[in-house]
């Protein structure tokens, strides 16, 4: 039997975090995102889901624990830069993500920062938009797009950097059924791993294989087979759970 010794893509080890003057939001939580792994992240409002993604990307510093990227602890600025080259974050509000005048310029922003030439960045951006079926939006003004279009373009801005994994913060918020279905099809077609925060359990069941639940500062891991939504006569219905098989 061979043991796979490749370290996971990114890991939060024993991570603790508290905003100044507030209670501990994460307490020695362990989270792992491996290559091509598709993880859903759920938890009540204020449980620290977005905070966890921000910790993974180094936007905030943990009060305890460490972040490992490909098995190495991420500490210096250069380490974080390397991690951000490999992992993209799609913000909850697409307006935070789209700041360039046109869609093409916004999608090319990341590739240009990665050191690609103008021609290469243009090629990469057009190709990404094409892959996502967004070619018709290429020359549109970003702030004039509809909410759904903005969300898909913000996904393109991250994918054009060819990340090894992606973090998505409530991607289905305020999306209509058509755009939501399109997003599901795009995510299912991706060959990279991702972690998605969402309260849309059906969406997570369709796009993810595993699940983390944030509860009392800890991240509990499970499969998505127990992720379902139906009326409950007991108080634990809001959390992932399994029902014993009826004999």
């Amino acid at each position: 039997m061979t043991v796979d010794s490749t370290p996971p893509l990114v890991q939060l080890q024993q991570i603790s975090f508290a905003y100044p003057g507030r209670r501990q939001i994460l307490e020695q939580a362990d989270v792992t995102l491996d290559y091509r792994q598709r993880i859903g992240l759920i938890g009540p409002n204020g449980s620290g889901k977005t905070t966890l993604l921000h910790l993974l990307m180094g936007l905030i510093n943990p009060t305890g624990g460490k972040v490992l990227f490909k098995g190495r602890e991420v500490s210096s600025k250069e380490d974080w830069r390397e991690l951000r080259r490999s992992i993209g974050l799609v913000f909850q509000d697409a307006d935070d993500q789209l700041f360039s005048p046109t869609v093409l310029e916004d999608v090319a922003f990341g590739p240009l920062n990665l050191g690609l030439s103008q021609e290469e960045a243009l090629d990469k951006s057009r190709q990404t938009l094409d892959n996502l079926g967004l070619t018709r939006l290429t020359d549109r003004i970003t702030h004039q797009l509809s909410g759904g279009e903005k969300k898909l373009v913000s996904l393109a801005t991250v994918l054009s950097m060819q990340p090894e994994a992606m973090l998505l913060d409530e991607p289905t918020n305020n999306l209509d059924g058509t755009i939501r279905a399109r997003l599901i099809s795009i995510l299912k077609g991706l060959k990279i791993g991702y972690m998605i925060i969402s309260h849309d359990w059906d969406f997570l069941a369709e796009t993810c294989d595993e699940l983390y639940t944030l509860r009392d500062g800890k991240a509990l891991r499970s499969g998505t087979e127990c992720l379902h939504c139906h009326p409950h006569a007991h108080s634990g219905g809001g959390l992932p759970h399994e029902h014993p098989q009826q004999q």
Binding site: L59, G88, E105, N113, H143
Partner: protein, 250 residues
Amino acid sequence: MTFEQFSTGSSFLHQADPRGKLVSAGLLSLVVALAQNMRTALAGLLLSLLLTAAARLPWTKVLRRLLIVNGFNAFLLLLLPLTYGGAETARVAGFDLSLSGLWLAVLITIKSNAVILIFISLLATSTVAKLGQGLQGLRLSPRLCLLLLFSYRYLGLIHEEYLRLHRAAGLRSFQPKTNLHTYKTYAHLLGMVIVRSWNRAARVQQAMILRGFDGTFRSLDTAILHRSDVILTAGLSFAALALTVLELAR
């Protein structure tokens, strides 16, 4: 909030490179603004009218824009003849009106209309994004260019946030009056808009950092000056020179 009312069109001014238009608008408006001579001001106004006609802009919208500046001009036309003083006066309805003051108010009115029309015909015929790129192309401070582009990008959103808050206050029966409660409410609204704008700015900065932004804005813009752009810029620069000669000639 409506932006870029004049930026779409098919006239040659709409197609022209923003760099040439920025330089021309700068030169022309400077000469017109500094003019002390009525001849120069009138020639500037004539040129600006010709440019506006060449841009084929809807006149009703242009006149509506001019109405704003002429509201201020109306005050000047009313106040300067009464307050400017000078030897030459005319007595109207018991008031001594200064002719120099009237002359100055008319000069300011003509010059301000000319400058606004120059800006509308040359600058408003490009999108703000193109103007930002044009300013970058003219090697203006990248920070200032970014400030322009970001202000434009997020001004609408900030305005929407203000409207949302205002609506929420209205739905709780808030009616603005001249009292402390109204002043306090508006102060709170303003404070909240600033806080939210600040938070948004922080999130946008995070989004930029995560996509590799290191302080240098790399652009896809590879705009090349066409022959027509050079001719237009040269022509308008020559017009600015002619206005200067007209101004200096006694």
